[in-house]
């Protein structure tokens, strides 16, 4: 299956990209985060357990156990600061 990943704000800058398409074996948000952390460097650093970030799946805030379906849009971003 394939996921569309989006990064915003500080994470977009740190990762050096705003979006990418990723082949994914299936699983939850937690599995995806493990896959991204395995890239090492800023990925391991910014997505380390305990770091403050949010994940939205198909444009709704998600939790670590939210399942990911094929073609899901997964966004990872810092805590929001609008308003």
């Amino acid at each position: 299956m394939t996921l569309r990943l989006l990064y915003f704000a500080r994470l977009r800058e740190r990762f050096g990209m705003g979006e990418e398409t990723l082949a994914f074996a299936g699983g939850s948000v937690a599995s995806l985060l493990d896959l991204l952390r395995a890239r090492g460097g800023v990925w391991a650093e910014e997505l380390a357990p305990g770091r403050s970030f949010r994940v939205a799946v198909n444009q709704h805030l998600a939790t670590f156990d939210t399942p990911l379906a094929d073609a899901a849009e997964v966004a990872i971003f810092p805590p929001v600061t609008g308003g």
Binding site: L6, F8, A9, R10, S52, F53, R54, V55, A56, Q59, H60, L61, A62, T63, F64, A75, F77, P78, P79, V80, T81, G82, G83
Partner: protein, 155 residues
């Protein structure tokens, strides 16, 4: 319910006029305007840029406004949030809630702002004499939102 994400400034008089047009049952309009400040966390801020998540933003705002409407039966609401580069003194966000009596209008307006601050995907980057910096989320905003005992939707 009007929800808009836009670069242009909003006109408060015009938004109130649209919200209340032809409605003689409106007894109260509570509103909130957030502004870009010239100082934050002890640094001068010469400008800020607001980034958002197109597509999710409108959905997230609609969801929190619907929650407010379920708790306080107001008549109508308007939420306008700006994006792009803003200067100190520029308005950032407008929330208007029209209701029969004032209690519902105040509560819904404050709820929407507190929820928006923690759940709508906007991010601010400030320009300071020390360079650019992303604004960090405030614990006080989380605390303000938690007052309303939101269902847990965050990680």
């Amino acid at each position: 319910m009007k929800i808009a994400v836009q670069r242009e400034c909003f006109d408060v008089n015009a938004e109130i006029g649209t919200l209340c047009a032809g409605r003689l049952d409106v007894g109260a309009v509570a509103s909130f305007i957030g502004y870009a400040r010239g100082v934050n966390d002890g640094s001068d801020v010469s400008a800020m840029t607001l980034e958002h998540y197109p597509g999710m933003t409108e959905k997230a705002i609609a969801a929190l406004a619907d929650e407010a409407a379920a708790r306080w039966p107001f008549i109508d609401a308007t939420i306008v949030h700006r994006i792009g580069r803003l200067l100190p003194g520029d308005p950032i966000v407008l929330v208007l809630v029209a209701s029969r009596h004032r209690g519902e209008a105040f509560a819904a307006c404050e709820y929407i702002m507190d929820a928006l601050k923690t759940r709508a995907p906007f991010w601010k980057k400030e320009e300071t004499p020390e360079g650019e910096r992303w604004v960090e989320a405030r614990a006080s905003d989380e605390a303000a939102a938690a007052r309303w005992q939101l269902p847990r939707q965050k990680m």
